[in-house]
């Protein structure tokens, strides 16, 4: 298990990369982006509306307005339609087995 192939570490040997990993990497970035938008949006809305004097805080459905717009309205949008669209538009159905079936996305034939 130790590093007996140290000499091979200088990327001399070529090998075939699995094309599915590039797709997977892009999808991971999408997920990270989703989280970033979620966080930035929720923080901005909450802070702009919530960092005020208590007398200026309005109430919607029993919640302080900043909480309603940030943690309910914005979160609802980010929790229902947005993930659905991200998955439908940005994600690729693929075979996860070590050797993907010919013809499925990410299989070698499709790469070219």
């Amino acid at each position: 298990m130790s590093s007996q192939t140290e000499h091979a570490s200088a990327r001399t040997t070529e090998f075939e990369e699995d094309p599915r990993y590039r797709i997977a990497g892009r999808e991971a970035l999408l997920c990270f982006g989703y989280w970033a938008v979620f966080t930035v949006g929720a923080v901005i809305i909450a802070w702009l509306l919530g960092h005020r004097d208590p007398s200026q805080i309005g109430f919607i459905m029993g919640f302080p307005d900043w909480f309603f717009w940030s943690a309910l309205a914005f979160v609802a949008v980010m929790a229902i339609p947005v993930p659905y669209l991200i998955v439908k538009l940005g994600f690729t159905d693929m075979d996860l087995e070590p050797e993907p079936q010919p013809g499925s996305p990410g299989a070698r034939e499709v790469k070219r």
Partner: protein
């Protein structure tokens, strides 16, 4: 003694037994016993997947802790808890399909397996497993103590009896049913949590007299409870810290992350990704936001954590109250069962097989897994009966420390070819140490954020530095984690045969 409340809760415990039985029946069908025990043979469909991810992530804190903090310090805390809504997308999506494919190619079963194959360093394997064992055991004890205390004050049943039944049921179904039992019961527990969250709102709003009454009541409270930062102290750095800690870093917690290699196919993953956030939103909001309503109803409670259970008992008829209270207990069970399994896997596969007895057979591993899981359950039970003082320190440290140490080597190891063993060790140790220091001794290290955030940044810096200072990962590692199956096989044939175990 409140039998009317206790009965639905007992019923919930009893439901776990047939579910575990079905799981045991199903896992017998698999050829690879160890993979089946620790991972359910990678067969989960979308619904079991999403509930097991979310229920493992949402702990007693989501249901009782948030409400207690909100009661004491205001809406900032409920907002902070809502930042865990994207957690499913992160836990499943960040490691994503690459993790699932690599796990199939290299037959990765445990959380540590990934580290073992990627960094090929005994130091990394040892460190990861040991930290997981210590921190997660401590955390499980905390979960049981929290759950049993709530149950004790409500039903009047003796604390000792409760811990023994509670921990005993979880230990038994987890030990004998393995991953599938944990996943199936998580699904049932998740449905209970979902139902509990919704039912609570309907009943409490009716009892209080609708939203206008809630509004009037909240307005009459101290204004600092419903502004930012207010009493909760949620200023900008704190808000960002919570979003990082409850959202992003959750992806690296072993008991959550291991689920990202358990699903059947990409369709299951896709569905779980887009239904996950909505379900987590209901879990979190349902109980957390009740804290403020609790404040309206009981302005002078002594123990903030008891407000929500008291509110439930006072406003709901006995059996319904029991059913709603089953939700936080279900959250405890679903978190603990998944933790027992990752700790058991770390002990059997990563530490015992890795360092003491490398030639363990598949059957021996799955058998040892069962008994180890049971033993972990017993240890947790004994510790929960009489929690030693030092435990509280470990618990405070557990989740933040694990997140700060594990996130960078997991995610960058998966996507960045330069990441090496030196970086993994440094970022693991560095992240945890920085967190320990910032959280306990030198608060200035946090730079006004939560300690876990700066600790993760520190861990990232170490990882990247070490990647350029230390040796590049071997060609073998690169092929294993980036090559096609054919390339991996060709490489294995080229180097000496049969080195993998």
């Amino acid at each position: 003694m409140r039998w009317d409340v206790a009965l639905p809760i007992m019923l919930m415990f009893a439901t776990m037994i047939p579910l575990a039985y079905v799981a045991i029946r199903r896992s017998r069908k698999h050829d690879n016993k160890t993979s089946s025990y620790y991972l359910g043979g990678r067969t989960l469909g979308p619904w079991v997947l999403i509930f097991t991810v979310l229920a493992s992530a949402a702990s007693a804190g989501t249901f009782i802790g948030t409400a207690g903090l909100a009661y004491a310090q205001g809406y900032g805390w409920v907002w902070g808890a809502m930042m865990q809504v994207p957690s499913a997308v992160l836990a499943l999506g960040l490691v994503g399909k690459k993790y699932a494919i690599v796990a199939r190619k290299l037959n990765l079963i445990t959380f540590t397996d990934f580290f073992k194959e990627r960094y090929e360093s005994r130091g990394v394997t040892f460190l990861t497993s040991i930290c997981m064992v210590i921190f997660l055991v401590a955390y499980m004890v905390a979960q049981f103590v929290g759950g049993a205390r709530v149950l004790e004050s409500i039903t009047g049943i003796n604390y000792f009896v409760l811990v023994i039944i509670f921990a005993g049921v979880v230990a038994l179904y987890t030990a004998f049913g393995g991953f599938l039992a944990a996943a199936f019961t998580d699904a049932a527990q998740g449905v209970i949590m979902l139902f509990g969250g919704v039912a609570l709102w309907i009943v409490v709003l009716t009892a209080v007299g609708g939203v206008s009454e809630v509004e009037a009541g909240t307005k009459a409270l101290d204004g600092q409870l419903y502004v930012l930062p207010g009493d909760s102290g949620f200023d900008l750095p704190m808000m960002i810290s919570y979003a990082v800690m409850f959202g992003l870093l959750l992806a690296a917690l072993p008991h959550v992350s291991v689920r990202a290699m358990s699903y059947r196919n990409s369709a299951a993953l896709h569905k779980a990704l887009w239904v996950g956030p909505a379900i987590m939103a209901v879990f979190t909001l349902g109980f957390g936001a009740m804290g403020l309503i609790g404040r309206v109803l009981y302005p002078e409670a002594e123990l903030a954590d008891m407000v929500l259970p008291t509110l439930i008992i006072d406003h709901l008829p006995g059996p319904l109250a029991g059913a709603v209270l089953a939700a936080p207990l279900a959250a405890v069970m679903s978190t603990v069962d998944s933790m027992i399994l990752v700790v058991s896997a770390a002990l059997v596969r990563d530490l015992y097989r890795g360092f003491i007895k490398p030639d363990m057979s598949d059957a021996a591993q799955s058998k040892a897994g069962t008994w180890t899981s049971l033993a972990i359950g017993v240890v947790v039970l004994v510790l929960a009966l009489n929690p030693p003082d030092f435990l509280q320190h470990i618990i405070n440290f557990a989740i933040g420390g694990l997140e700060a140490g594990l996130f960078v080597p997991l995610i960058l190891g998966l996507y960045w070819k330069r990441g090496n063993a030196l970086g993994a060790i440094l970022s693991l140790l560095g992240g945890m140490l920085y967190y320990l220091l910032a959280a306990n001794f030198i608060p200035a290290l946090s730079l006004g954020m939560m300690p876990v955030l700066m600790a993760t940044v520190f861990s990232l810096v170490l990882y990247v530095l070490a990647a350029f200072i230390g040796p590049r990962p071997s060609h073998r590692v690169i092929v294993k984690f980036w090559g096609t199956q054919k390339a991996i096989e060709a490489m294995r044939a080229e180097t000496q045969p049969a080195v993998r175990g």
